[in-house]
């Protein structure tokens, strides 16, 4: 139960928690719950979903999103966002649009989309993009490396294209599910 003190009078509070299973990476590693990476990831997820969920409709309420990574091979932020979109949609919480995310990087003067763990560990610049596909608006764009501004355009384009591909997939699955469920419900 959330604390009453943190309740906002005009909108809902979005609370995201990220955790990573010990067996998710190649080497079994115990990750304490409040560590820096989890907190930062939780904060990024919160910013992403506060942009997408229509929080004005649920004043004095809290929406909890808990994500746990079972297998990590790069692109964990993107996977978390895509999974959480489906979860929020299934719960019936009103959202502006799907939120589709993908990571992208720049290696050997080529923009790469959806980096794997090996490519991320290589140390090149990497970018995480969360997109609202219908309007093309960006929910979150994050990069903590150095990239020449001439290359930014191509990397951003690669990430956006990959995110739109993810959207096509999610859209198809959700529509199929809605069709099934509406047949069952009569």
């Amino acid at each position: 139960r959330g604390s009453r003190a943190r309740a906002l009078p005009d909108r809902a509070l979005v609370n995201c928690q990220y955790s990573s299973a010990t067996f998710s990476t190649g080497e079994r590693k115990r990750r304490p719950h409040g560590d820096r990476k989890s907190c930062e990831m939780g904060l990024q997820l919160r910013q992403t979903f506060e942009a997408a969920i229509l929080t004005q409709l649920h004043p004095r309420s809290q929406i909890d999103i808990y994500v746990q990574v079972l297998q990590a091979d790069g692109g964990t932020y993107a996977a978390c966002v895509n999974a959480a979109t489906l979860a929020v949609l299934d719960a019936g919480v009103p959202m502006r649009d799907f939120v589709c995310a993908c990571s992208a990087g720049f290696v050997d003067s080529t923009a790469l989309a959806d980096l794997s763990h090996v490519e991320e560990a290589a140390g090149g610049p990497q970018l995480a993009l969360a997109l609202l596909p219908a309007s093309g608006q960006i929910a979150l764009l994050e990069m903590d490396a150095r990239l020449h501004e001439d290359h930014l355009e191509s990397v951003l384009e690669a990430a956006a294209r990959a995110a739109r591909d993810v959207h096509t997939l999610l859209d198809r699955v959700v529509r199929q599910h809605v069709r099934e469920a509406s047949v069952l419900l009569g």
């Binding site: 309420s61 502006r96 649009d97 219908a134 069709r179």
Partner: protein, 278 residues
């Protein structure tokens, strides 16, 4: 020694077998419903750049000039007159807070509860102090919705002999969108169990009381009597059937009178026949 084995096979999607006769307009968040600005927007939609956009995944419902999108699965939204089954979470001054699977906790005011003996008087300070004697945290009650507050919270009342604290039985929680609104929500199944279909998705299955006393189920069910034991078993089996149906997504909408016999090959032999429409 040869043995016959059946391997799991993916079920065929139902929409293919039933056919494309659904004239419903199904949408997902981000879909444009219409660009005509003459419509009023209802739940599940929002206005963006001169067009009406859906904000939940579900079917579009159009009533004259009002367009709303009914989501597949939501929290319970109270309407006046609904029967709900809820669990007491808090005992406050002059009211109880009841958890009914909705966005905000429902409220049961002390003045909306019948006093023992059916007296009609103003609730005094002694009644307030005795509140915990009637209902404590963790108790289950059946009640009716009296009013809905502006923020969506629901106010309940138990001003009838058929509502009140629930005794021995089993609670099954399903999605509220699966329970249709009907004339009566209290049913007696032929197998010896009785069921209360809460509109909020909480379904209470209890052994049919031998003699119709007030209230659903007794506080101290007498398990010695053979009849009561049999009907308790029946209620437990009914709840397992329900859980199985939910698991296999039979889309159970409750309307007694339409029976669906469970195929013997798919279900254990002891399951009683059940009123499920799917």
């Amino acid at each position: 020694m040869a043995m016959e084995m059946r391997l799991p096979v993916a079920r065929k999607p139902l929409s293919e077998s039933v056919g494309r006769d659904t004239k419903k307009h199904l949408v997902v968040p981000g879909d444009t419903i219409t660009t005509d600005t003459g419509f009023m927007r209802g739940h599940g939609t929002y206005m963006g750049e001169e067009k009406l956009i859906a904000s939940v995944a579900g079917s579009v419902e159009r009533v004259n000039k009002l367009i709303c999108v009914k989501a597949l699965k939501t929290r319970y939204n109270g309407e006046v007159g609904d029967i709900v089954v809820g669990r007491i979470t808090e005992v406050q001054q002059k009211r109880w807070k009841v958890e009914t699977n909705s966005r905000l906790d429902s409220v049961l005011l002390l003045s909306s509860m019948n006093l023992p003996g059916g007296e009609l008087r103003r609730r005094s300070a002694e009644d307030e102090l005795a509140m915990r004697g009637f209902l404590q945290e963790g108790d289950l009650i059946s009640a009716e919705v009296q009013a809905v507050f502006s923020d969506g919270a629901v106010s309940l009342h138990t001003r009838s002999l058929k509502y009140g604290k629930l005794g021995q039985g089993v609670l099954v929680q399903v999605s509220p969108s699966l329970v249709k609104r009907q004339k009566t929500h209290f049913h007696d199944l032929p197998c010896g169990a009785s069921v209360i279909l809460g509109n909020n998705g909480f379904i209470w299955i209890y052994p049919t009381p031998e003699h119709k006393e007030e209230g659903a189920g007794g506080f101290a069910a007498d398990l010695e009597t053979e009849g009561v034991r049999v009907s308790t078993e029946a209620s437990l089996r009914t709840s397992s059937c329900l859980l199985l149906a939910m698991k296999w997504n039979w889309g159970a909408l409750w309307s007694p009178g339409r029976t669906l016999r469970v195929p013997a090959a798919e279900a254990p032999s002891f399951l009683p026949s059940l009123a499920v429409s799917g």
